[in-house]
Every structure is written in C-alpha cells, then in structure tokens.
C-alpha cells in the first residue's frame, strides 16, 4: 500500500477564498482521505454466483447507483457486477478473500491508485454542479455515481445529507488536477482546508 498521500504536495491546511466574516461551522470543508484500503470486486460475466451470499465487512454488495456502509467500510456500486470497497480496516481484503471464488470473482487491491477528496457543508451540491453534469439534487445519502468533474473521471459517494458530505475519488495521477478543480470551485464560497 502506498503510504504517501496522493495530494501530499498540494493539499494545504488553512482557509481560502471568500471566507472572511463567515461562520467557521458553516464554511465548506475540504479534506483528503488517505491510508484507506481500496479494492475492486468484479464478478465474471459467465458467473452465475448469487451475490446476495456475499458480505464484505458485514455489508451487502449494493445494487446500481447505491452504496452500503458501516463505520469502517463503504461498498460502492461501480458498474454492473463491479464494486469498489473503501475501508479503514487495512486487513479487510485478507479477511474477506476466502468467500470470493477465483472462478467467479476478481479481487484487485487498488489502494495506491486513487485520490479521495471529502467535501462537507451546505454548499457541497453547488461545488459539484460547477464541474459535474449529473443531476446532483436528485442524489441522496446512500447513492453513488461515476461521472466527470471538469473532464476528469470521478466516483462520487454521497456519504451524508445532514451534514451534507460527499467523497470524490479519481485516479491518483489526476489527483492534483482534481484537487485544483474542486478547490477553484470552492473559492467563491470560501472554504476551510483540513
């Protein structure tokens, strides 16, 4: 697993943009999530394995455009018969590997390959709308979607509605561009980088 954060040289702590005179509590918050285990579960096309038997950290594999979660782990639908797991339990892949038959599933550790930015605050939807063509208001807590943000392919996980919180993940190599895009969109509202 890669220990160096994808945004190590770019994510600076502080307040930026139009934050003067605004309440700290209501200010947009931008943070980077790292030190997570990320792995992809792909069920082969010719497999007829019943996925309802699978539990990852006690969570079902969600249906299209949905996610399932507990305090450690989030499982996101990533495409038909394809899921992405984010977990703070770094041994999860070893624990869960046994239930995935090699003839039915491919499990790939991609912890090193993604940059994750978390946005929190009432204006999160406005920030997303600036760069993403999705109908953002129709997405609620427990939804997820793959899309683009200013041309960069991203996965958006709608973590919570109150407080409004989303996680945007993109390929690590696009991490710095994605961070620029998102923080540029936040400048108008003012944001706190944590």
């Amino acid at each position: 697993m890669m220990n160096i954060s994808a945004l190590n040289f770019i994510h600076k702590i502080g307040k930026f943009g139009d934050h003067n005179g605004k309440n700290d509590e209501t200010l947009l918050k931008v943070s980077e999530l790292n030190k997570l285990l990320i792995f992809q579960i792909a069920k082969f096309k010719n497999s007829d394995f019943d996925i309802s038997k699978i539990k990852v950290d006690g969570l079902n594999l969600p249906s299209s455009l949905k996610s399932s979660s507990n305090s450690n782990t989030r499982v996101l639908w990533f495409g038909p018969d394809n899921w992405l797991v984010f977990s703070s339990d770094l041994n999860l892949i070893e624990k869960e590997k046994k239930q995935f038959n090699e003839l039915d599933f491919a499990i790939t550790d991609i912890s090193h390959s993604r940059a994750i930015i978390e946005l929190e605050g009432n204006l999160v939807n406005e920030v997303l709308k600036k760069g993403c063509p999705l109908d953002i208001n129709s997405f609620k807590e427990g939804d997820c979607a793959n899309s683009v943000y200013n041309g960069i392919t991203v996965t958006i996980d709608f973590v919570s509605d109150n407080p409004k919180k989303v996680r945007i993940s993109g390929l690590r190599s696009f991490g710095e561009s994605l961070h620029h895009s998102i923080t540029d969109s936040c400048l108008e509202f003012g944001y706190k980088s944590i």
Binding site: S64, L65, G79, P80, N82, P133, N146, S147, V148
Partner: protein, 89 residues
C-alpha cells in the same frame, strides 16, 4: 449537448460517453474462410445514413459498459437504447 439514457445508469450527459461506431456491422464468422473483399468491407466500409441509425456508445466515465443507441443522424434525437445482448427493432 445530448443526454443519453444508459441502460445501467439512467439519463446522463454526453460528456460521460464515447462514440463507438456503427452497431450493425457484423464480424465475419470465426474459423471460416473469408474473402479479401468481405474482410475489407468489414474493416473499412461504413454506411453514412441520413436518419435513424443504430450505434455503439461506451459509458466510459460511468459504468464503463458498451450499449446500443438508436439515434437520428440529422436531428440527433435518441429513440432507444439497449444493452448489447438486446435487439433494437
């Protein structure tokens, strides 16, 4: 800007998709003799119809699935979309 109804993800902006060409082209059968003319036709020759056309699109920034789209090449109106194993009539 087009909106395309992905059979897996629903209505999405064209920004998330890549065009994949004519969906009606059939590859010559495997392990059978094929003439140079037929092979040339399969590789290079494409129709350029005016009106309804069935195309392949790839939801490259979404679910990464290929699917079929019936689109009017003049008005860009999209009539139907279907999974690869489904027919558009």
């Amino acid at each position: 800007m087009l909106n395309i109804n992905c059979p897996y993800c629903g209505d999405r902006s064209q920004k998330e998709f890549a065009y994949g060409g004519d969906a009606t082209v059939k590859r010559p059968e495997l392990n059978k003799e094929v003439s140079d003319e037929k092979w040339n036709e399969f590789i290079y020759l494409r129709k350029s119809p005016r009106g309804k056309h069935i195309e392949l699109w790839h939801h490259i920034a979404g679910c990464r699935q290929w699917f079929k789209v019936q689109r009017d090449t003049v008005t860009h109106e999209i009539f139907k979309t279907a999974k690869m194993n489904e027919e558009i009539k």
